[in-house]
């Protein structure tokens, strides 16, 4: 029920805001505002409301960090190109009984073009009973996979991902040992579920990192984008939902504790929630994807285990004390010598290679 003056005012104000108003129009606008104080008020409020600020720098950093992961994979820079499965020990096992096995092997080498090929070949041939699809990596190499639903997975060294013929029917379920970064294709109808040791991670459409190495006592999940829900096989009542930038560290020991014991199992024994931080556009938990190593105040034995996995090298400690020395290291190219040098310089530590792929720290 706006009257003519009101409509005229709105039209003129719009032109003023967009910078399109002619001098005559500006004059007329002023006239209207003089005549109707409420127009003047509205005008002032809107002018003063000011331009929306840019998002806070932390949001931008976070967003850029996960964007950069995607960009690096889909459009590697021409300089410093480090393909995901490059490296001397360029081997990975693929074991399955399905026709597109050949396509999976080609995937890391041929890149994007292969994804289309993959989708075309994915006709449901095999009806002879159950089979599993498995992608596994050895130490020293990584692998990039696209699942039948277009979800992208990057497998870190010494990891395995399996799924069966029911994948992408009612749900999308996979089993993971090791470490992988998931960029899950959005599909509200078919929940994407990752099984790790006694834990299920359910997602809708989102990007996150899961770490579940058998040698480690912890399961870690870092959420970049979206929302995920974690449930525990043995503790049906516990349910955790992660929001972006949150990270959960689950203790495997805590999970397998006997629930019949009189003691109430405290939540702190099972898991801990923290945040992930993007520093200098790098998220520590995702550094491995870009062939970077990023340790923040980690003990040397943990670092050594990671180096063993990344470089397929055995590291022996002669001296137990140094295992607890803590380091913060950010290295942007996989170079074992360089990292060892850094470690050597900062504390009184020495190392030597006793064979091509074994070294001792003392």
């Amino acid at each position: 029920m706006a009257n003519n003056a009101e409509i005229e005012f709105y039209d003129l104000m719009g032109l003023k805001l967009s910078g399109d108003a002619t001098p005559e129009q500006l004059e007329r606008l002023q006239q209207l505002m003089n005549e109707f104080p409420e127009f003047m008020t509205l005008y002032t409020h809107i002018e003063n409301a000011g331009r929306l600020d840019s998002y806070p720098i932390e949001i931008l950093e976070q967003s850029y960090a996960s964007h950069y992961v995607k960009k690096r994979l889909l459009a590697p820079t021409e300089a410093n190109y480090a393909p995901i499965t490059s490296g001397k020990k360029h081997s990975f096992k693929i074991r399955n009984y399905f026709k597109y096995a050949a396509v999976l092997i080609l995937l890391p080498l041929v890149g994007l073009a292969v994804y289309n090929l993959y989708e075309k070949n994915n006709t449901k041939h095999n009806t002879q009973g159950k089979f599993k699809n498995e992608v596994a990596t050895e130490k020293g190499s990584k692998s990039k996979i696209m699942l039948p639903d277009s979800t992208m997975v990057i497998l870190n060294s010494d990891s395995r991902l399996t799924y069966d013929e029911h994948f992408n029917k009612q749900s999308r379920e996979v089993v993971l040992t090791g470490e992988a970064y998931f960029d899950v294709k959005y599909n509200k109808e078919k929940p994407f579920i990752i099984h790790t040791d006694k834990t299920k991670i359910k997602v809708l459409g989102t990007a996150f990192n899961v770490r579940n190495y058998p040698q480690e006592d912890i399961i870690e999940t870092s959420l970049i984008r979206g929302k995920i829900e974690l449930t525990f096989d043995d503790k049906k009542d516990n349910r955790v939902i992660l929001n972006p930038s949150e990270k959960i560290i689950i203790s495997k020991k805590g999970l397998s504790q006997n629930t019949t014991s009189k003691q109430n199992n405290r939540e702190e024994d099972i898991f801990k929630l923290t945040r992930i931080v993007a520093e200098d556009s790098t998220i520590a938990e995702l550094a491995w994807i870009n062939n970077e190593l990023y340790f923040v105040n980690k003990p040397l034995d943990l670092i050594a285990r990671e180096l063993e996995r990344v470089f397929n090298t055995t590291i022996i400690f002669k001296n137990d004390v140094v295992k607890h020395y803590r380091y913060t290291i950010h290295s942007s190219n996989y170079n074992l010598e360089e990292i060892l040098q850094i470690i050597k310089l900062s504390q009184n530590i020495n190392y030597r290679f006793i064979s091509k792929d074994t070294l001792i720290i003392e």
């Binding site: 805001l17 509205l42 840019s54």
Partner: protein, 194 residues
């Protein structure tokens, strides 16, 4: 945005011809907030919007030298995001949902601790109203008010007529006016908000 045009063009050249990662990052940081808000106004979901904007920005990188041919990168990006959003809507056949649960992105730092009307409160209310506008109206208003686009530029980005733009402005301003109705004119402090 217009006065920084020379910076943007410079970064474009750096990315197009020198594959300059720093320049690319600057472009990303410069455009992200606007593009993301734009996408959210279309499809409602902040996470999917983030993916859409990310995909558009990857395309920018992949264009290589062709990037230097674009005169108004801001308009180009808005168009890309709009197309991506429409494609997403068609794919999902979902209704455009006005996502009022945007606390996560309401990072303006407004302090509304008490009920006292002050300049920030008004800004917050206006923002609140804008967010609840019908999607097209919200988009048009934002492009004009926040991004400083002209009517012609809005026409180009949105693919709508001048009259349609006028209509959307009328809707937006009327709603804002109604929302601010109970703010009496005794607000004398007219300090400019950054």
């Amino acid at each position: 945005m217009k006065r920084e045009l020379s910076d943007i063009l410079y970064w474009q050249q750096q990315v197009a011809y020198y594959r300059d990662e720093n320049a690319y990052k600057k472009l990303y940081f410069h455009f992200y907030s606007s593009l993301h808000r734009f996408a959210v106004a279309f499809i409602g979901d902040p996470e999917i919007s983030e993916e859409l904007v990310s995909d558009v920005m990857i395309r920018i990188w992949m264009m290589k030298e062709k990037l230097s041919n674009i005169n108004r990168l801001d308009l180009y990006l808005f168009k890309c995001v709009r197309n991506a959003a429409l494609a997403h809507i068609n794919e999902k056949k979902s209704i455009i949902v006005q996502n009022t649960d945007e606390e996560h992105f309401d990072q303006m730092g407004y302090c509304h601790a008490d009920a006292e009307i002050n300049a920030k409160e008004i800004s917050h209310r206006i923002e609140s109203v804008v967010r609840r506008l019908p999607p097209q109206s919200q988009l048009v208003f934002r492009l004009i008010k926040d991004e400083g686009l002209s009517y012609k530029e809005v026409q180009s980005v949105m693919g709508i007529s001048n009259n349609t733009i006028k209509t959307h402005i009328r809707i937006a301003l009327k709603r804002i006016r109604m929302a601010l109705e109970d703010v009496s004119g005794q607000r004398s402090n007219k300090q400019k908000i950054k």
